[in-house]
Amino acid sequence: MLTTLKHKAGKLTIAAALGLGMASSASAVDLTMYYPVAVGGPLTKVVDGMVEDFEKANPDINVNAIYAGNYNDARIKALAALKSGEPAQTSVMFSIDIYELIEQGAIVPFDDVVETADEKAWLDGFYPALMENGKTRDKTWGIPFQRSTIVMYYNKDAFRAAGLDPEAPPATWDELVEAGKKLTKKNGDTVEQWGAMIPSTGYPYWMFGALAMQNGQTLMNSEGNETYFDAPATVEALQFWQDLGNKHGIMPTGTVEWATLRQNFLEGKTAMMWHSTGNLTAVKKDASFDFGVAMLPAQKRRGSPTGGGNFYIFEKSTPEERKAAMKLIRFLTEPERTAQWSIETGYLGTRPDAYSTAELTQYVQDFPPAAVARDQLEFATAELSTFQNGRVRKLLDDAIQSVLVGDKTAAEALGSAQKQADRLLKNYR
């Protein structure tokens, strides 16, 4: 009896304490934010540090920033939390998840949250190419945060050894083939150094988006309900990719592994590689030779898709929480913080004004490769993103790989991918 009484008394005290605590910070907003990590390095510490700074500057907002695995894991975690009673209010997720999130009614457009002219100006301050994956139906749903693009890394020492000008990397497809032939070194039948490698596992659709854009063709419309897989320029682009290995012999035939490509480049097994800017910091740290970074070469024009993660605000949130979430996102994308984020991670600075900060200006001056990705943004386009994204992407991935390993011709593979994509997207038109 006595113990139950004690127990009850204890509970009461706790409840009272909680009540008091709540009363004293009645205006405080608690935010939960998920973020994925997609590149190497101690990124969780960088994010935690920036969130801490935000809490110091905004004592009335508590942020619980939670690491949520890779992009896929983060989406699963966010959607699971949304369906239970304990959702997050904001999250960084893959920029191409936008249509799925809209379809599920999970996110709100930023246009509904911004009010003041100041906030609107902030919304318009990002690179337009980076906004493409965050905008649809005339509204902005995603704010660029951890964004990257594809660039060409090349081994300047290998260029010198082959009698090429290390300061003039190939700028067109023809020059790429020509330089590649000079750079491919054979010892009998085995190739000691390939001219170039474009990875075709992991994210083949992403690399292919670059080739198609260079040939003047996008892969989908901005409503996300139509794909252009069988357009003549798309087929040509895939044919060129296959030719690099089969006809010109400057790239291994078959597929090139995404996950080990950086290692291959660092060990001199290829003189050029196309890869994410997310690799810049690692290449810089580990390269034992003089390397350069260049924009991807052009056929009809230059081009590369952007990639990476955007901020979203979830629909299941109170107006106060949305305001607080936007405050947080604004804080994290301020020019100084964007500059710091870019330097520490290798991701792009998402806003032109970030590149005018003292830190980033200095960084780009000391390390010019960091500016290449920025300058290429002018020619960049959205990453493949549609409704039924996972399945549509898989169709294109499979088509690309079946052509590279020689099972199908480019026209065949892309034609059938387009037919199946049409079937999936029909209901969204």
Partner: protein, 275 residues
């Protein structure tokens, strides 16, 4: 006669050769992990006997996440799950093996159906349940969906069924109650099955990733696998030296335990018929 002998010998050698080959193929990833974890990253995919050895990879991997805490969490997690599984599965298996009650075959069929459902399908539903129980972001919350293991119930039921009824009758004559019979007759005789099931359960939950990631939010609850995942780096490609060092750290306790108790484990598996 002699040719028959020779034939036997040859086929025996052949069998041994094949067994060693298979073992080697199975061990290759582990061997590679040891190679690249102890060498600087330049040598991660280049084999050079004279490559310098280093422990830097381990130091760097260890510093990137609070691994000491994650070890504790994982250890608590697998212990809690294993204990709960042993208790629940033993009682359920005993009931299914030795008692008659209405709806027994339907109940057992339901247990078997559970074997066929991938746990990943239930992530959202389980999350909702945990949220209603107020167990999101707790170690018990990670373990609860796995505690009534259908596999464990099935396995123990089969084992209990093979134990001669006469032993139970003898115990009853001595005046044992049903629970005493379970404790004194069935559990000791099913020891190999417990060891085998324990090994499967511990290694599964030691390695489980997606559900623990989804249901947890803080350092105090997250297991090792979630800590390891930050080395995954899908966008930039993996730093093999660091990730293999982290992996070796994470599997080391299991690896050591297996090497120490190898003989017992293998015998238990033969006994319990799990392959």
């Amino acid at each position: 006669m002699r040719t028959a002998n020779l034939k036997e010998k040859i086929s025996l050698h052949f069998e041994y050769g094949a067994a060693y080959l298979l073992a080697l193929i199975w061990m290759l990833p582990l061997i590679y992990a040891f190679w690249s974890a102890f060498h600087p990253s330049e040598y991660a995919t280049r084999f050079d006997l004279l490559a310098p050895l280093t422990l830097d990879n381990f130091r760097e991997a260890w510093s990137q996440a609070p691994f000491a805490r994650y070890f504790l969490n994982t250890f608590l997690l697998v212990s809690i799950i294993l204990l709960a599984q042993f208790i629940l599965c033993t009682l359920a298996a005993y009931a299914f093996a030795r008692f008659e009650f209405p709806g027994k075959s339907i109940a057992f069929a339901l247990v078997l159906i559970q074997l066929m459902i991938m746990p990943e399908v239930l992530i959202v539903e389980n999350y909702v349940t945990m949220s209603q129980l107020n167990l999101v972001d707790s170690i018990v919350g990670i373990g609860l969906p796995y505690m009534a293991s259908a596999f464990g119930i099935f396995l123990l039921r089969q084992t209990f069924k093979t134990i001669p009824k006469e032993l139970e009758d003898a115990a009853r004559v001595e005046g044992c109650s049903a629970l005493q019979i379970l404790w004194k007759v069935y559990v000791p005789l099913a020891r190999p099955t417990y060891v085998a099931f324990g090994l499967v359960s511990v290694s599964y939950h030691w390695n489980n990733f997606l559900w623990p990631l989804v249901i947890t939010n803080s350092v105090t609850t997250r297991p090792l696998t979630v800590g390891l995942a930050i080395f995954g780096a899908p966008e930039s490609g993996v730093d093999w030296s660091i990730i293999t060092a982290g992996t070796l750290l994470a599997v080391a306790p299991l690896l050591v335990a297996f090497l120490l108790f190898q003989r017992q484990f293998v015998q238990s598996f033969m006994h319990a018929g799990i392959k």
